[in-house]
Symmetry: C2
């Protein structure tokens, strides 16, 4: 059934990126068969190496570097040294894609802006991830502003509509700014590969965290433009009854759409008199009363029931509900195990590790357990001799010069 050729077989990636958006994106390139060469300063590596957790048995594990960099190769290279720069230029000639998520201008200051690398290799695809975008395709007035996940969530319109109706705006608990930009950058890089197949030329792929989250705010932006009415926190829950409620051991979400569901719901929670109650018709009236009436009623009904009991009872009544899961639930979920979305591997340095898998499931591509994340420069010698033909003496000289 499956085919041992991977989608990105033969594609070589020079990965200069650091936590989080860039490495998350190149992880998918690696999982789909590209040769991803993680380039780090040989002294200390990138900042993810210093994000440690203390394990239950007292070890310190660089968990973020570990999960982001599995399946990649490690090359230690000092890009500020002349020798390191020369090596990097040679690698660009032999590669397809460069990925970086420095502050804009950093790569230009190093002499490695897109225009410089294009002069070395016109087929190179140069993917940048940043807070507000670079300025070579479009002017980017905010280019130099500080940028990180929380700023992207704030400016992109996500926080303003997240949270309780009368509470403050809330950030989403995952690093949405980075993660979403990472997935868009993946698509952008693959589009540039398609374009190169048609034109023979590479290009700059310029991804901004702010742009990506603004795209997610599309509906609110258009609604505001058309109606003059700006969506606020809690607004969606007023269109039909939809939301979260507390049960014995946690929380459950549910939604109801239309009168037949409402009828089944009233029977389920033992309140048949509400079926025809005009205060609960139509759907939007129920939506408006979710917090004031429906949630309290549900919480009273569910106070002695567990999440799984509640979800089963909803399912038996053909009504949609699901548990609010935490990371431990995800870790234990048979659905995710079945789909190889939870993958355990033995790392020779870090011990037993668990990773969430690749959500892109392809019927003709066999998934294989990822190799562990490399140490800083783990493959430096093999890469320099294999790709650039450097001799053992050349490599010793570079090491003496602290270029690798």
């Amino acid at each position: 059934m499956t085919d041992q050729i991977k989608p990105l077989e033969g594609i070589r990636v020079l990965d200069l990126s650091h936590v989080l958006a860039g490495p998350y994106m190149t992880l998918f390139l690696a999982q789909n068969g590209a040769e991803v060469i993680k380039i780090e300063n040989p002294e200390g590596g990138e900042m993810a190496r210093r994000l440690l957790v203390k394990t239950a048995d007292g070890r310190s594990v660089d968990h973020v570097a570990a999960y982001l960099n599995r399946g990649k190769k490690g090359l230690g290279l000092n890009l500020r040294s002349d020798e390191g720069k020369a090596i990097f230029r040679e690698l660009v000639k032999a590669s397809d894609i460069v990925v970086e998520n420095f502050t804009p201008k950093t790569m230009r200051k190093l002499g490695f802006g897109y225009e410089e690398l294009k002069a070395i290799n016109p087929r190179i695809i140069y993917t940048s991830l940043s807070g507000f975008g670079h300025d070579d395709i479009y002017p980017s007035p905010m280019m130099d502003r500080p940028a990180f996940n929380l700023i992207a969530q704030a400016m992109g319109g996500i926080m303003d509509i997240t949270g309780e109706e009368n509470g403050p705006p809330m950030a989403t608990g995952v690093a949405l700014g980075d993660l979403v930009a990472g997935v868009f950058a993946l698509s952008g890089t693959l589009l540039a590969l398609q374009h190169r197949d048609r034109t023979g030329l590479g290009q700059h792929v310029d991804i901004s965290m702010y742009d990506c989250l603004a795209s997610f705010s599309q509906r609110a932006v258009l609604r505001t433009f058309l109606t003059g009415d700006v969506p606020t926190r809690g607004r969606d829950s007023r269109e039909n009854p939809l939301g979260t409620f507390k049960v014995k051991d946690g929380y459950v979400v549910m939604t109801l759409m239309g009168d037949p569901m409402w009828t089944r719901f009233c029977d389920l929670v033992g309140r048949p008199e509400l079926k025809e109650d005009p205060g609960f018709h139509p759907d939007s009236a129920r939506g408006a009363r979710y917090d004031s009436s429906i949630r309290p009623l549900l919480e009273d009904w569910a106070k002695d029931k567990t999440r799984s009991e509640v979800v089963e009872l909803f399912a038996a009544a053909d009504l949609p509900a699901a548990p609010v899961q935490d990371a431990a639930d995800i870790l234990a979920c048979p659905q995710l195990r079945s789909r190889r979305m939870i993958e355990e591997i033995d790392d020779p340095v870090r011990g037993r590790m668990v990773y969430t898998g690749n959500p892109i499931k392809l019927s003709n591509v066999e998934e294989y357990p990822a190799s562990p994340a490399p140490a800083i420069g783990a493959n430096t010698e093999a890469l320099l001799s294999g790709l650039l033909g450097l001799s053992a003496e050349d490599i010793s000289a570079l090491r003496a010069a602290r270029a690798i």
Copy 2:
């Protein structure tokens, strides 16, 4: 500078999808040069057609259908009729990609599962988006469960870590389940195109909303596995001072990392005595006191200052901060206008409309204003005669049979 060849020039897409994940994904295919043919039942079309807002001047506008389907062609086709099925099979022979986001099994019941379409055209790429995934690549025990955005956010671990530390779990205000699955499906489809270029064969791309959001929970899952300690709401804000605070006209976010930032911050807010206060050292101590001490101090300092005044003062002190923006702010943002992320077009049916643009910025591909979303079946006759060579009589007969 730019090249008129688009990345997906010559790629034809049969788009059977409906709100939200599928059409959001095919929008990017259209924006990058694919010919996207939106196939809808000629009677009534898909459900987005019925999501209306009332404009300031009293018109009803199908805003969701409008923003999701710009740049696509419209084909009315009744897939339940024999004639409609025959037409669809012919279209599959002439196309590259099929996209669907029905409940799993729906397409198989129609006779259009991946295996059936592969028998018609082995080069076809068949992209499915669903809540829990299909079962032809991996077993999918939860396949038949109801699925929509809120359920994906709940099960994927996003809600549990979003919200106030002592409040209930919160959903993100945008439809993260659909939108993130859409962007992963875009990448998956582009990977399948790369794979087809190498093997000559299409495949099934099976994207699950739950899988996609579980991938975003990667860090929490690994941390739980290693430490036995499950991340909870509010946890991240305890690692360094980072969060939201109220100002005169809204909210601002900020973060501080390290002692030099803390020193500048104390001067900025007029509290120099805190610079050396041992209760505020190190960073994690400040993080732990964000809600109890730092936020109140900031809110007192900022109570007579606007968002933009506060952000300017932070910038002058070389400290990162940004306004929490709503949809009206996004609409007015010069940065987004400059990067063509806010695009106004005149729609002949709907009047002046505003769209968020394509966040994938490519240096060699010229962006052009999208054509408006088609009416149901707007291009039916041209497509059937152009692609399949049907005569006016054939088309009349199909119309009489209510197949188109």
